[in-house]
């Protein structure tokens, strides 16, 4: 309130910082936090119901809980068995060991999605390509997951078995434009036709299953981080027991057009952060 000295709650006088000093203080703390500058997320990000923040908040509480456990462990010198993180949220997060070994966990939400649906020739698929620009450098990927929500979907028999498989798009061929092919984002021309695919993970489930599906895409993530040009995205197929291709949307797999709390995202765990050397003043 105008006075140059303000009494802080503990009774010690607090010096009022000048504008420049305040900026320096913030910059120093951001540097300690390993941030080049103050992030400025778009306002919409503050909507609480988005899937990735909800998942990451559960992960945060799990990690914070572990940090407290470790402190109690050391002080009481009691051996506390490391509890596996299960059932924390509607989504079961990664196993405890992956989380606690990671220095950084990044959830990627900016994704370009393309569907080959029932209005196109079979096989049907969904493709997802994530923006990796904000991924920390100097750290290696210890695990990466692709999370997509499956609703009930259009199915005659909820007990039928579906095989959901995830591939890394390893390469795309030049003349792959089929009739009606469309250009898509990221400056890369996408269209139909064959690409080189690398199988990452498969899950078998009932047609009536509802909930989050988690696929291990660590191999692809490692590949993308070697060089961004390899980031051609993920492709998801759904097939019946007798090999018939099923439109993923009809099977209930929600893409970017689903509710915010059920949109697909990726979670990448990084470890071995390079120690940030402080710039001499």
């Amino acid at each position: 309130r105008g006075s140059s000295r303000r009494l802080h709650t503990d009774g010690f006088p607090q010096r009022r910082l000048s504008g420049g000093e305040r900026r320096d203080v913030q910059r120093e703390i951001l540097t300690v936090l390993g941030l080049p500058g103050r992030p400025r997320p778009r306002a919409r990000a503050r909507a609480p119901a988005a899937a990735a923040p909800l998942f990451m908040l559960d992960l945060y509480h799990a990690v914070a809980g572990e940090e407290e456990e470790e402190e109690e462990e050391e002080e009481e010198a009691a051996v506390v068995s490391r509890s596996v993180l299960t059932g924390l949220s509607t989504q079961s997060p990664a196993p405890g060991s992956v989380v606690s070994r990671a220095d950084t966990v990044v959830s990627l939400v900016n994704v370009v999605e393309q569907d080959r649906d029932i209005f196109s020739p079979k096989p049907y698929w969904k493709e997802f390509r994530f923006d990796l620009t904000q991924v920390p450098t100097g750290e290696s990927v210890t695990a990466a997951e692709f999370r997509i929500y499956k609703a009930r979907g259009v199915t005659r028999n909820a007990n039928n078995t579906l095989h959901v498989s995830i591939y890394e798009i390893a390469a795309q061929h030049a003349n792959r434009h089929g009739p009606g092919g469309r250009a898509w984002g990221w400056g890369v021309k996408w269209g139909w036709g064959e690409s080189d695919l690398f199988l990452l993970d498969v899950q078998d489930l009932h047609a009536g299953t509802e909930g989050w599906l988690v696929f291990d895409v660590t191999a692809a993530s490692n590949h993308w981080l070697v060089d961004g040009k390899y980031n051609l995205g993920l492709r998801l197929y759904v097939e019946t027991d007798d090999g018939h291709s099923v439109d993923p949307s009809s099977a209930g797999l929600l893409g970017r057009r689903g509710p915010r709390s059920k949109q697909p995202f990726m979670v990448t765990f990084f470890g071995g952060s390079a120690s940030t050397t402080r710039v001499p003043r």
């Binding site: 300690v32 990451m56 990690v63 950084t104 990044v106």
Partner: protein
């Protein structure tokens, strides 16, 4: 040595050092000689709210960082987490206070803290930052 030992006997009575099982970091107001506190951990809360960062920091709203402060005066009892060197330095300081300073009260154990935040692309990042929280203090 005899005279010294009698003087040491006399110092221990009014020095009122804490009982060994009262470790630094437990918030008693323990006083070394002449009312000064022995080396111990003090509360220090870093508030992201005060920094005006809650538009991008999701959790926590701040965290307890603590700091170390207090005397490393002779004799450095076992409860002061003193290094061997600090013990020797405090002895030399006793003899030559002008030439050699007392040992420093500093963190002997630090732990990590995690911060969950949005980046500028609305990705959500959970980052563990090591050596951010003082767990125990000692004389160095």
């Amino acid at each position: 040595a005899a005279r010294a030992s009698r003087r040491r006997q006399h110092r221990r009575n009014n020095n009122d050092l804490p009982h060994p099982n009262k470790l630094p970091g437990i918030f008693d107001d323990v006083h070394a000689a002449a009312g000064r506190q022995i080396c111990r951990r003090h509360e220090l809360y870093v508030s992201f709210q005060d920094l005006g960062w809650l538009d991008w920091v999701i959790a926590p709203q701040g965290y307890s960082a603590y700091y170390c402060e207090g005397e490393c005066a002779f004799p450095l009892d076992s409860c002061m987490n003193a290094t061997n060197h600090a013990i020797l330095q405090s002895l030399v300081h006793l003899m030559k206070p002008e030439a050699v300073p007392k040992a420093c009260c500093a963190p002997t154990k630090l732990s990590a803290t995690s911060v969950l935040y949005y980046d500028s692309n609305n990705n959500v990042i959970l980052k563990k930052h090591r050596n951010m929280v003082v767990k125990s203090c000692g004389c160095h």
